[in-house]
């Protein structure tokens, strides 16, 4: 029996994806609207994109978010990968259950709790809140997503290559960098990207842990959204959606090359 789509399946797919995408498509379309009114089409225009270039605070916030995103994603990828290696390769060790719990809980933990608890920690430690406290907070929750992504790759990886390297006298460290890491590289890269987009997207945790002079892009957008829908915000959102979409497409095409030929990737 070859899989085939019934009419019901086609309708489900169409309606489901229409529901998922229609709001985003409308937002993008109306970012090119000449009129300031959201429902009235006043002709095609890129004036709101031009207006963005003159919006100093928004550009500054974007720059802050970009730096926090790159820094926190990088630290999160290192810590998250270490945790994944420990959970998959070390068998049973003291604290394994606790580590598993601490890795999975942040995935679903409501952000208001994480944000408030980290803020209270920074206050108790008497740390000045700002750029670095937001970065640190982002590392803490996004590293868990990295762990889950890398873990799923490590579990399916062929262990015989690592064993061969060890048998040939490679140290565990050399084995990791020369055998394991190249094989899990796509998952590590995906983990970094996920951590980066999570950081770029986060409003709640950043609002709690930020201080003067470190307003992130979501915080700035949220401040303007509360005042109402504006085509300028639509334009900013469209740029963010465009960047993420392009990155995902590029990544999935690049990793498909590696994943489509498992013989080459795993048996080289």
């Amino acid at each position: 029996m070859t899989p085939r789509l019934t009419a019901f399946n086609v309708v489900s797919l169409t309606l489901g994806f229409a529901f998922l995408y229609l709001p985003i498509v409308l937002l993008v379309v109306f970012s090119f609207n000449e009129s300031k009114l959201v429902t009235v089409w006043g002709g095609f225009s890129t004036r709101w994109y031009a207006a963005l270039l003159g919006n100093g605070p928004l550009l500054e916030a974007a720059w802050v978010s970009l730096r926090i995103g790159v820094l926190s994603a990088t630290f999160a990828t290192v810590l998250g990968t270490l945790a994944a290696v420990a959970l998959v390769r070390f068998g049973r060790f003291a604290g394994r259950t606790l580590l598993t719990g601490m890795v999975y809980a942040p995935l679903v933990m409501p952000e208001v709790i994480t944000g408030l608890s980290l803020l209270l920690l920074f206050v108790a430690l008497d740390v000045d809140r700002g750029f670095w406290t937001v970065t640190l907070a982002h590392v803490s929750f996004s590293m868990c997503f990295v762990t889950v992504v890398v873990q799923s790759r490590l579990v399916t990886m062929d262990r015989s290559l690592e064993e061969a390297a060890m048998d040939l006298g490679a140290t565990p460290l050399a084995t990791f960098f020369q055998v394991t890491l190249p094989l899990i590289a796509p998952a590590v890269a995906a983990g970094w990207m996920l951590a980066f987009t999570l950081s770029l997207d986060d409003l709640v945790i950043a609002s709690f842990t930020s201080g003067p002079g470190a307003t992130t892009l979501p915080m700035r957008i949220y401040g303007q959204v509360r005042l109402g829908v504006s085509p300028e915000i639509n334009a900013a959102c469209t740029i963010m959606i465009g960047v993420v979409t392009l990155a995902i497409l590029a990544f999935s095409i690049a990793s498909k090359r590696g994943l489509a030929e498992p013989g080459r990737a795993e048996g080289a």
Binding site: M1, T2, P3, R4, T6, N9, V10, L13, G16, F19, L20, Y21, P23, I24, L26, L27, F30, V38, T39, L79, G80, A83, V85, A86, F90, G95, L98, L99, M102, A105, V108, M109, P110, V112, I113, L116, S117, L118, L120, L121, V123, V139, S140, M143, C144, P172, L194, T197, D201, L203, V204, I221, V225, V229, M240, V244, T245, I248, L249, S252
Partner: protein, 306 residues
């Protein structure tokens, strides 16, 4: 006798597991203790705006003094003031309804994805993943333009001649419900798809060969086998939705109050950190049980042979 290499390997392993472990203890687990502690202290007009319950330099006498000063006043207030109980009940109701609706919408979509020809599946999976990567804030914001009185939905309905006066949807519970279902749909879709795609097609063939009508094959084979995806999806939607802040704040207006919005306004609006902490403890208690259940399911699924 242990060789130097072996000792180094052991030290290396301790470092690999120890670093993320120490990080998560310091920045995830330990702060909950602070939340609990501050939820028992009193609000004060100071910086930080609470009277500390304990401090590092306390002698035994200080600790005794402060123990007697510890107050459950914040919790008493939460229990007595109907506003807070309402927020808890509203959150539970909205999160549960969102979970059921997301399941009903996502199941046929995930099913169709899993039945699609193999060459179409990667593209469909990508389509299902993209919203997951797109900013949450942006996707919630998009609904304001659709739902507001002069928004796109009312314009479309008026154009179709279905309504004369615009529907009030934005700033009602309806808007929050739509926002929750929409935002968390990918979290339901992806585990459902993963579970449905794993089902061995020969099992379905066997059902058909034995003369079962399609609905019976679905009911007796597909549905039970997709159960791990259903439970994973339900937890992934229900738990974060319970403590949601952005959606009720942007779409619900002042009428729809959820636990997350109460915590936010006590903290940022009233600067009542102790009360906000007490709300956080209540929310934490509410999410811990489903979280433990979720982990138990996941552990069973990953450890069971497939």
């Amino acid at each position: 006798m242990r060789s130097g290499a072996e000792r180094r390997a052991r030290a290396g392993r301790a470092l690999v597991a120890g670093l993320p472990f120490a990080w998560l203890v310091a920045f995830f687990l330990a702060p909950f203790g602070l939340v609990a502690k501050i939820s028992l202290s009193e609000k004060a007009n100071a910086r930080p705006p609470y009277r500390p319950a304990f401090a590092a330099g306390d002698g035994p006498g200080d600790v005794l003094d402060k123990l007697s000063a510890l107050s459950l006043d914040n919790y008493r207030l939460l229990a007595e003031e109907p506003l807070y109980l309402d927020a808890v009940l509203t959150s539970l109701r909205l999160a549960a309804t969102a979970t059921v609706l997301a399941l009903l919408i996502a199941y046929p979509v995930a099913y169709a994805m899993a039945r699609a020809p193999g060459r179409l599946r990667p593209a469909l999976l990508l389509l299902a993943m993209l919203p997951f990567w797109t900013s949450f804030l942006i996707r919630v914001y998009a609904w304001i333009g659709i739902l507001k009185p002069e928004g796109l939905l009312n314009a479309a309905l008026a154009w179709l001649g279905l309504i004369d006066t615009p529907l009030e949807i934005l700033n009602t519970e309806w808007a929050v419900q739509i926002g929750l279902v929409y935002s968390y749909l990918p979290f339901m879709l992806l585990p459902l798809y993963a579970a449905l795609e794993r089902i061995d097609p020969t099992l379905l063939e066997a059902g058909q060969d034995l003369g079962a009508p399609p609905w019976k094959t679905f009911w007796l084979v597909t549905l039970p086998l997709s159960r791990p995806g259903v439970t994973a999806g339900c937890f992934l939607v229900f738990i974060p939705a319970l403590g949601e802040f952005v959606i009720p704040d942007l779409l619900g207006g002042s009428e729809t109050v959820m636990i997350g919005t109460v915590l936010w306004s006590e903290f940022f609006g009233n600067r009542d950190w102790p009360l906000a902490s007490a709300v956080a403890v209540v929310l934490l208690v509410a999410v811990v049980a489903p979280m433990v259940l979720w982990r138990r399911e996941e552990a069973r699924r990953t450890e069971a042979p497939t």
